[in-house]
Assembly symmetry: C2
């Protein structure tokens, strides 16, 4: 009686709010624990999802609402990453970062694809795993380098520039691979999608970004309160829809929207704080939702454990070698710094796995493998980075 | 084919993102138009919902997702209102504001109830309409007074203090009336709910707020990034759930959470900007969703139009007289300033109507009547306020 009554009194019921509260609280408690253990908060928030989800406590199950909040969350996450990616900086870091990025994309993609084929997986499945191995997580490495006051060092700049380029390449490959997954390898469709995706990216970066930078003062003069922030929100949602409409993942549109605004918002502290509020509120739902989708029992099979170890080793080795070779002209130590800096996979790899899962291209076990790889590389890299940069490495 | 493909490629489909984009874009275009006409942006955003909703263009229909986003939006809206409501200020403005508030609550509630009874409405229905007439919208009046640089004037302080007290009274009455609606006037349940609601509010304000203010520095020292902002989000969600759990509307918990944090965050610009980002993103969904629920065809009946006019006149008259009498010792002109300052109904009145609609206590026609009243009082008051404060009125 009382329960029914209060469900009525709230209009929609306790359920959703309680779910959101549990997800947010679990995420932030685990983030605090991981920060105290000097580990990335991101990993803590994913683990929070594993704990409250289907594998352990079963407090919260994924629903249409949590999936939607997670999707909005990842869109704003990529938008924020884009906001910190000025196109001009990428144009500047020059060819060395591009070489590092390209070699660091080809090596894991090719190695991942063939490992999966050898393992007996199908073509599309193998393409997805290769794609999930591609993208370095800019955030993790940047946070480690920033905490050591190393962001201005030459190797750091190469790492960050290359990470951005490899993010873009990773998202482009994702666009191709997911259209391959849906279209049963229809080369016309894939070709069209690729052309559209590249044209879209080029249009946003070469025409959209300068236009936005030029009209920014006029937008700020609009009467609506916080007009520039609102413009950013609309550009992010609008380009996400546009990206999805031409057949590319929505997050690519969000990322490009961020890049288009990067120049104009560089010194706009208010905009960064407002955007920070939105992502701080929404991103935990994305991370916790990832953890909630992990089924721990997939690791009962010895073969899954074997594959997990292989994929994780491959993920570390291919970036270390691929990117290291690209930076070898700087000497062995710096090449190792660059290679290790590119090891952490994060958001993008997980996003790829999640899209694969939702397309039913990869199964729960492979999702678990990729998730483990993303988390493990994220945990492995920071201590080695600190070692490689310690002492005369600076 | 292409559409299906791209729906797959985005993971969840274009639908939700496109809906969010249309809602946000419509809200902000109309807000800009209304700001340029020197009318409240809030009204523009509600009207945007009317235009894109079932009555006019039919572009977007309310769904579980839009309703949930709207609910989260109104929770953060009330949280933000609470953040700007320092308990100490209310304790200070003294008895005059309290008298203005109480008379300004009793007059519209009683008059609204009896008008509806005379009109032939049921008991609970009449109680809801009375409740919807109670709460002044602090936001609108404050914005008008701020634009005239009058916030420090004595009458302004009385208006703002009284508006806050009347918000709290309005929310308490809502708690009682909605339990009456659900419990078929079970006096034991109503009594228990009232006692719980008052105890809850007293606990948050007299014990929670000082504790939060004291431990605020320790929270800011936590390792999690933006820990104080995250704490605010959790307190808002947590008290919303707690309020719903004891049978009070979730928004009351959110409002109290804001008040508990008001003292601690007074000078925390970062927190205000981050919170501003979240509300700026979410509140449009609440306002547009309101408009989307309005069925314009209810105004085809002459009786509905009659009732709308009567209720709107009553809404203006009862605040003008009720609050004016409470401030009469200040002289006629200032009493009129106070009375007119309390006329705009806004968010809270609309929330009451919406809860009534979702409880099926009031129908589409009465929802339309209340919405019209809230919008009309909001549009009527500002020009009169400017007249009353003009010249020697300062």
């Amino acid at each position: 009686m009382v329960r029914m009554l209060l469900t009525l009194a709230t209009g929609h019921g306790l359920g959703i709010l309680l779910t959101l509260f549990i997800m947010m609280a679990a995420a932030k408690v685990m983030a605090e624990v991981f920060e105290r253990l000097r580990q990335p908060a991101v990993v803590g928030e994913i683990l929070a999802g594993v704990i409250i989800g289907q594998s352990v406590l079963r407090w919260v199950a994924p629903s249409e609402i949590t999936n939607t909040l997670a999707e909005i969350g990842v869109i704003f996450l990529l938008f924020t990453v884009g906001l910190e990616t000025k196109p001009s900086v990428i144009f500047k870091v020059g060819t060395r970062a591009a070489v590092v990025a390209v070699l660091g994309v080809i090596a894991p993609f090719v190695a991942g694809y063939f490992l999966m084929r050898l393992w007996g997986a199908g073509n599309v499945e193998s393409l997805f795993i290769g794609t999930a191995l591609v993208a370095t997580s800019v955030g993790i490495t940047a946070r480690v380098l920033a905490s050591m006051n190393l962001l201005e060092v030459q190797t750091s700049r190469i790492i960050l520039g290359a990470a951005v380029i490899d993010d873009i390449l990773g998202l482009l490959i994702l666009a191709l691979v997911s259209s391959a997954a849906a279209g049963q390898m229809n080369y016309l469709v894939i070709g069209t999608t690729a052309a559209l995706a590249i044209a879209f990216a080029a249009f946003v970066l070469f025409i959209g970004a300068p236009v936005v930078t030029r009209i920014a003062p006029r937008i700020e003069n609009l009467r609506t309160s916080e007009s520039f922030f609102v413009f950013g929100l609309l550009l992010c949602l609008g380009l996400s829809v546009a990206a999805a409409y031409i057949g590319v993942a929505a997050i690519i549109g969000a990322f490009l929207a961020g890049m288009a605004l990067a120049e104009a918002t560089e010194k706009n502290q208010t905009m960064h704080k407002q955007m920070g509020g939105v992502t701080e509120f929404l991103v935990p739902f994305f991370l916790v939702n990832i953890g909630m989708q992990l089924r721990l029992d997939v690791f009962r099979l010895r073969s899954t454990i074997m594959l997990t170890i292989l994929i994780t080793l491959l993920a570390v080795a291919t970036k270390l070698i691929g990117c290291g070779v690209g930076a070898l002209s700087l000497g062995w130590r710096r090449a190792a710094q660059v290679g290790m800096g590119m090891v952490p996979r994060g958001e993008v790899g997980i996003v790829v796995a999640q899209i694969g899962l939702s397309l039913a291209v990869i199964d729960d076990a492979l999702f678990g493998v990729v998730l483990f790889m993303a988390v493990a590389t994220t945990l492995i890299a920071p201590p080695f980075l600190k070692l490689l940069f310690a002492g005369k490495g600076r």
